[in-house]
């Protein structure tokens, strides 16, 4: 049963990539295959999540093992990937990109999704590293989709900074491995999560500390944490909209997941104080950079990218605030995944309509494309932390956890920064929604189906924000226990 679930989770994106690779000249069919099979992955993730929420044992088979923490991430990745597959290029019968481009997109986007799912499902922390490194390679090729100089530069910057960062994370992994080797355990099993976790109390404090610094810098680079976040705004702004949705919505969360996994091990060796302090410093710095950069943005995709930096900072800060903080951080990651991917997918529609990425060049969205405008506004409100969306709830929980952890000043600071972010986002949003559109811009919504699909994550956000489902709460509680027992 477990192996069936794991195959159902991992196979669809890898199969879709293979089909796209083989389907030269039939890219449309490959795109449809992708869109039809991807929900199978989301379904498997839901079943796994339900089982773990009900208190079941981790879903494990061979080299794979999903505990509650993995299940949360697998669910987020598969849901966002499904949305992106539905709204990706190749399904629109009225033109769009060429068949060759569609095929390339479907190959790499699915490999990208597959590597993310492997990263969260493997039981081996070394394989997790390999998979996260592979996400850089698979996604970097799709960023120069529009073949502009800016996009190529952004892609290069992402590839270089991402690869170097992740190499440092490997150094951290190796340091932990070396440390484990000195305790005399079985080396073949050494990087298995369960083995390493059991051996963690015997690790040497000095080495564990050094390893965690490398791991935080390395995976933090991929998660868009300061000070190595500089690649993020360029890459997320230049990538095609569905890829931006996946990169911003879930890739950052997967990288933060890696940090959380290692934190759990290092905490067992040296107690949580060390990792908490580092995460607080990095988290707060990241929030400050994200929030203060929002107001001066002139392009809506860059605006969304800086908002991702802010939210990753918040989640990182939450991870340092004890069990309640970890719970809030995970809820925050879930809300951010849904809201940010929706916003990025809609940004693709805005770009199609106006042919410009500038905030100043897209006035009157409410009049020209009412459906897109309303959903986009809802997603941005969610990202701004307004009720009734779940990000409001998780931000309050993070501030509350900070308060309880005696970080009174930081709690106040974060509150002020969140308000600042809210003001900046809403200011930019109202410039886009209202005003007079240029005469040449067509009016009225053309394709209705994507709007119906994108209403789903918005409704989910409201549901999670108003009456958080009990099963979600228990799942997140179990997941938080993995990080911070």
């Amino acid at each position: 049963m477990d192996s069936v679930l794991i195959v159902a989770l991992l196979a669809p994106p890898l199969l879709a990539a293979t089909v796209a690779l083989l389907a030269r000249g039939a890219a449309g069919a490959a795109a449809w295959f992708n869109a039809v099979t991807m929900p199978c992955s989301a379904g498997a993730a839901s079943v796994i999540a339900l089982r773990l929420a009900a208190g079941g044992a981790p879903v494990a088979a061979g080299a794979w093992r999903l505990d509650a923490l993995s299940a949360v991430l697998a669910l987020l990745v598969s849901v966002v990937t499904t949305l992106a597959a539905w709204l990706g290029p190749g399904l629109d019968r009225r033109g769009g990109p060429s068949g060759a481009d569609v095929r390339l997109y479907r190959i790499y986007a699915n490999l990208f999704a597959g590597t993310m799912l492997i990263a969260v499902s493997t039981s081996n922390l070394g394989v997790m590293w390999v998979a996260i490194e592979a996400t850089t390679v698979t996604s970097a090729l799709l960023i120069p989709w529009r073949r502009t100089k800016a996009a190529l530069d952004a892609s290069w910057k992402y590839l270089l900074i991402g690869s170097v960062g992740i190499a440092l994370a490997f150094a951290g992994t190796v340091l932990a491995f070396v440390d484990y080797a000195t305790t005399g355990g079985d080396l073949e099993m050494a990087l298995q999560w369960t083995t390493l976790r059991a051996a963690a109390p015997a690790l040497h404090p000095e080495v564990a500390r050094l390893a965690f610094v490398f791991l935080l810098v390395g995976f933090g680079t991929k998660a868009g944490l300061a000070p190595t976040h500089t690649w993020l705004p360029d890459a997320h702004a230049e990538a095609p909209a569905p890829l931006s949705a996946m990169m911003s919505g879930v890739l950052l969360a997967v990288a933060l997941y890696a940090v959380a996994r290692w934190k759990a091990i290092v905490d067992l060796a040296i107690g949580p104080a060390f990792s908490d302090t580092l995460l607080v410093v990095v988290g707060i710095t990241t929030i400050v950079i994200g929030c203060t950069s929002l107001l001066s943005q002139t392009q809506y995709k860059r605006l969304l990218a800086y908002s991702s930096i802010e939210h990753m900072g918040l989640a990182c800060f939450g991870l340092a605030l004890g069990p309640a903080g970890v719970f809030a951080a995970l809820l925050h990651l879930a809300g951010h995944a849904l809201a940010k991917s929706t916003a990025f997918l809609l940004s693709g529609r805005v770009y199609e309509r106006y042919g410009s990425g500038e905030i100043g060049a897209t006035p009157g969205l409410l009049a020209t494309a009412p459906g897109t405008a309303v959903l986009f506004a809802a997603a941005v409100f969610a990202l701004a932390g307004l009720p009734p969306f779940s990000l409001f709830l998780s931000e309050i929980l993070i501030v509350q956890a900070a308060w309880r952890a005696d970080h009174l000043v930081l709690a106040m600071l974060v509150l002020v920064l969140i308000l600042m972010a809210f003001a900046s986002l809403v200011t930019h949003l109202q410039r886009m929604l209202f005003g007079e559109a240029a005469p040449g811009v067509p009016r009225g919504e053309r394709a209705q189906v994507p709007l119906v699909l994108l209403a789903l994550p918005v409704l989910l956000l409201v549901w999670m924000g108003v009456t958080p489902p009990v099963l979600l709460q228990t799942l997140l509680t179990h997941a938080a226990e993995v990080v911070r027992p």
């Binding site: 081996n124 070394g126 394989v127 590293w129 390999v130 490194e133 592979a134 850089t136 390679v137 970097a140 090729l141 120069p144 100089k149 190529l152 530069d153 892609s155 290069w156 910057k157 590839l159 270089l160 900074i161 690869s163 170097v164 190499a167 440092l168 490997f170 150094a171 992994t173 190796v174 340091l175 491995f177 070396v178 440390d179 080797a181 000195t182 080396l187 073949e188 050494a190 990087l191 040497h204 000095e206 080495v207 050094l210 000070p227 190595t228 500089t230 690649w231």
Partner: protein, 210 residues
């Protein structure tokens, strides 16, 4: 036996660090590529020595893969990129030679300092080289940050990978084989993708320092 083992790996590790330092005063990409190739060969030799004297036969396979991938295929890809490149042949690093060497020696000292706890807990005969591996990681990071030309940056990144591989070899006789193979695959794919992206980039605007 242990003394010879220790000395051989120490010589190999030192050679690798020296080859990273060569980059500091060379001004042309082919010299960078040559230094990387020599460094990878040294890494393969260290791997073979550990395989033989540490009695870990599977490391022979790893050493052969290092030799093939990093000693031959990757340098060839890099050379092809250099041949196709147009524009100024000479490199203009952000930091001049004197300062580069000064920074590198400071990094080496720092590496010795931060690796002290590591050298204390590892009891293998190869532990003497651990600070050198850490120094190589830091110096390579400095190469990436201080060079502007893309191929030079790629060489810096690859030397960083070599440093981590050295750390794994000396600290624990290598990571589990499945991880090792995954790393090779990633390096190969990474370099191929970098090659695909480079023609449009020219003088890179990347680097964590900006």
């Amino acid at each position: 036996m242990d003394a010879t083992f220790s000395r051989l790996t120490l010589i190999g590790a030192s050679a690798m660090l020296l080859l990273a330092l060569v980059v500091m005063w060379r001004r042309h990409v082919p010299a960078y590529i040559a230094a990387f190739r020599m460094q990878s060969i040294s890494l393969a030799v260290v791997g073979a020595v550990v395989a033989w004297m540490g009695e870990v036969p599977e490391l022979f396979l790893v050493a052969i893969l290092i030799l093939a991938l990093k000693g031959w295929i990757v340098p060839r890809i890099l050379t092809n990129m250099e041949v196709r490149r147009t524009g100024d042949r000479e490199l203009h690093p952000l930091v001049n030679t004197e300062v580069s060497l000064l920074v590198s020696s400071a990094l080496a000292v720092a590496a010795y300092e931060i690796s002290r706890p590591l050298a204390q807990v590892v009891s293998l005969p190869t532990r003497g080289g651990l600070p050198i591996a850490l120094a190589l990681i830091l110096v390579s990071l400095f190469i990436v940050v201080s060079r502007r030309q893309v191929i030079a940056q790629i060489v810096g990144f690859l030397m960083l990978e070599n440093g981590v591989a050295l750390l794994a070899l000396l600290g624990a006789y290598g990571v589990p084989l499945v991880v090792e193979l995954g790393v090779f695959l990633d390096v190969l794919l990474g370099v191929l993708v970098m090659q695909a992206l480079v023609p449009g980039v020219g003088e890179a605007s990347a680097g964590p320092a900006r």
